[in-house]
Amino acid sequence: MEDERRARSAQPRAGEIPGGGAPLPGSRGSPGLLRVDVLDLDEDEDDLEVFSKDASLIDMNSFSPMMPTSPLSMINQVKFEDEPELKDLFITVDEPESHVTTIETFITYKVITKTSRGEFDSSEFEVRRRYQDFLWLKGKLEDAHPTLIIPPLPEKFIVKGMVERFNDDFIETRRKALHKFLNRIADHPTLTFNEDFKVFLTAQAWELSSHKKQGPGLLTRMGQTVRAVASSMRGVKNRPEEFMEINNFIEIFSQKINLIDKISQRIYKEERDYLDEMKEYGPIHILWSASEEDVVDTLKGVATCIEQCCKATEKRMSGLSESLLPIVHEYVLYSDTLMGVMKRRDQIQAELDSKVEALTYKKADTDLLTEEIGKLEDKVECANNALKADWERWKQNMQNDIKSAFTDVAEENVHYYEQCLAAWESFLTSQTDLNLEEHSEDKL
């Protein structure tokens, strides 16, 4: 069975525990991926069947996160850890191109993949993808992993201040965000092995189209939606404490990150306005120096300093727009994702709760219900653990990203002031030197 599983999927990652079975307590050094059988009892069963029967339980296409056996306590030990040294998938998104057809105009982006993984037929791939394709991929990932935190996509369109859909800044910002999106997936210990992801990176245009059309994705999604609506009506009564905490965090985080996004955008705007005025300010001193005889050097010196400060401001602004603004905005989108993930978890639990309720009132066939409840309990367990592990990973990444983004901003600002200081100090020195010269001339 395991052989079949292995044959179907990728080669096991280095350090991975080859067999099934519970993770050993001391195995922190192993990468986060572990394959554990869902039901150790059913070793005779064809895993494929298990998988295919409960498509929503375990995804056929990727390794699932730790499946609980007894003891449950072992689950908490497992963490998703990124290992940059072992990175074997490199993706870039580049070269936006405009395509015009009779029906529409759209942009495609070149996606280049370099990999050493065995499951890829080649070591290098180059494909063209449009925004719709990215959307499709995201949808598939969400279907497959309802309680994993899927990286956010840049917005469909930005209404505010947009003249045309395809202006250069917009395209560039989007390109960078798409690049980030794919790389985040590549870095995710589970998502990186997703089959649809692989297809996205490697298939030619027509291959992708035909692949998109197959798969139960659409139906399951619809089915889930119906169930979701039904269960959300009932609300979640028994949300575990830890998830209450997480939910609370997400709510506040969402508020704050949105504010920080607004503040950061505003700072950028104010800096740009300041730069515009400074650009007019400097030359006036040059103009003035034309009608003076004695104060010419001083005036020109001031103009030079102002010019240098302008350059420093431009650099500071570009630092802001390259590092802080995209990161903060990504986390704004992430906060929406998180809320969606929490909802889906709640829905899964609600399903279970409703069946349990039904059992209590003996509304239907007790045996069937009990069986269903058993499966749902596992499903809930699965979903919760997936979410918890991914949540810890996400939180760690968020802290690192925020920390590094703001540290960079602070560094940029220090550098900005240092440059301005140097300009003014050198001006001052030149003036005092001149003064000394003049005084010594007077004394002669």
Partner: protein, 450 residues
């Protein structure tokens, strides 16, 4: 052609050009240049007067401003600000100063003093007063005359004005100026009694009035052109500076929002909480630092404004020269035409048109007696005219000499002051940069420890 009053300006000069403090005491003016734009009460310092033959130093300070209410000329209640002027004489021996005079004046009295000086010293570039209303304001700064910051800056400006006058070699000896500093009551009446308002040349007020002058002194034309340029460029500079200040204020203050949000966010973070909180504090520090920075810059703007207004005073001297030159040329022209008339009458040839000549032609010759009479009148007028022209010429040359001397003095002062102002601006920028480096270095440390 306008008929000038028989009293040339010379007669209008105040009789006693007494130095302050009495017949024997002499005045050493306190430094104006050092104190301008600097700290509030700093009015002491060594004399800037070139001729260092004064024995007693005085110090002038405008030390306080007070809101008052009173009744104005139309018996209506009004609120105004009064300024306390203190004069101290400094004993050379021990350097100690003794308060000799102290009185309150309001802005309108300063204006009166200045207008008087403008009339009596047309060849001097008279120091300007600080602006009546706040102009070139950036949006956070109040344009209200009663605003305490505005009043404070005006107090400094008025002190600067007095110091400039006191350190001017000619103006400092004016009696009305002396009385301004020493005689609180009745001063207004004393000034008005000089009758200076009547002597003021209304033609000079019309800035755009053009006198077609044939031979102005080229130097004055150049200076007038320069004063126009100076006014224009300084206004432009002040306008843009105000906009820059506005934008800079925006950049700093928005960062303050980070402080609040970081603080709120830190509540839900365990590891990151402390770092966020302390970084937020530094953002608050950064945001509030702009207030002092821009307050300092306002003093720099005031220094520039002084020269904006000085440009007007400079222009006024040039206009006065033009006016005198115009009158001279008109007088010369009039004299020439009278001489010609006289000549024609004497020789009988008519080259110039005159009504008398016309009527004579039409209605018959005039009698020789009539002609004689006319020649005699003309000869008298010509004599008078020649005297007047002579004295006008003399006046004109005196004026040019004295005015040019003061313009040279002014140029040197202006070059020194502008250089100093620009350097002090650089010093302010340096201080701002240093503060910025410090606060962001601190913030960076907090962020990197998160």
């Amino acid at each position: 052609m306008e008929q000038l009053s028989p009293d040339p300006e010379r007669q209008l000069q105040p009789a006693p050009q007494e130095p302050l403090g009495g017949p024997d005491a002499v005045l050493e003016a306190a430094a104006g240049e050092e104190a301008e734009g600097a700290g509030p009460q700093d009015s002491g310092g060594d004399a800037m007067a070139e001729n260092n033959f004064w024995l007693k130093k005085i110090e002038i300070s405008v030390s306080e401003a007070e809101k008052r209410t009173g009744r104005n000329a139309m018996n209506m209640q009004e609120t105004y600000t009064a300024y306390l002027i203190e004069t101290r004489s400094v004993e050379h021996a021990d350097g100690q100063s003794v308060l000799t005079d102290s009185l309150w004046r309001r802005y309108s009295e300063f204006e009166l003093l200045r207008n008087y000086l403008l009339v009596y010293y047309p060849h001097i570039v008279v120091p300007p007063l600080p602006e009546k209303r706040a102009e070139f304001v950036w949006h956070k700064l109040s344009a209200d005359n009663m605003d305490p910051d505005f009043v404070e800056r005006r107090r400094i400006g008025l002190e600067n004005f007095l110091l400039r006058v006191a350190s001017h070699p000619i103006l400092c000896r004016d009696k009305i100026f002396y009385l301004f500093l020493t005689q609180e009551g009745n001063w207004k009446e004393t000034v008005n009694e000089t009758g200076f308002q009547l002597k003021a040349d209304s033609r000079l007020k019309a800035l755009n009035a053009t006198f077609r002058v044939k031979n102005p002194d080229k130097r004055f034309t150049e200076i007038k052109h320069y004063s126009d340029e100076l006014q224009s460029v300084i206004s432009h500079l002040l306008r843009v500076r105000a906009r820059v200040a506005d934008r800079l204020y925006g950049v700093y203050k928005v960062h303050g929002n980070y402080g609040r949000v970081f603080s709120e966010w830190s509540a839900i973070e365990k590891e990151m909480g402390d770092g966020l909180q302390s970084a937020g504090h530094h953002m608050d520090v950064y945001a509030s630092s702009i207030d002092d920075i821009l307050e300092d810059e306002e003093h720099y703007a005031d220094q520039l404004k002084e020269y904006l207004f000085y440009a007007e005073a400079l222009r006024a001297v040039c206009r006065k020269h033009e006016l005198m030159q115009y009158d001279l040329e008109m007088a010369a022209q009039d004299l020439a035409s009278k001489k010609q008339q006289c000549e024609e009458l004497a020789t009988g040839t008519v080259r110039t048109f005159s009504l008398k000549g016309m009527t004579t032609k039409l209605f018959g010759q005039e009698t020789p007696e009539q002609r004689e009479a006319r020649i005699k009148v003309l000869e008298e007028q010509i004599n008078e005219g020649e005297q007047q022209l002579k004295s006008k010429n003399l006046e004109g040359r005196e004026f040019v000499k004295n005015a040019w001397a003061d313009i040279e003095r002014f140029k040197d002062q202006k070059n020194r002051d502008l250089k100093e102002a620009l350097i002090s601006y650089a010093v302010m920028q340096i201080s701002m940069c240093k503060k910025g480096i410090q606060v962001w270095t601190n913030a960076k440390e907090c962020f990197s420890k998160m």
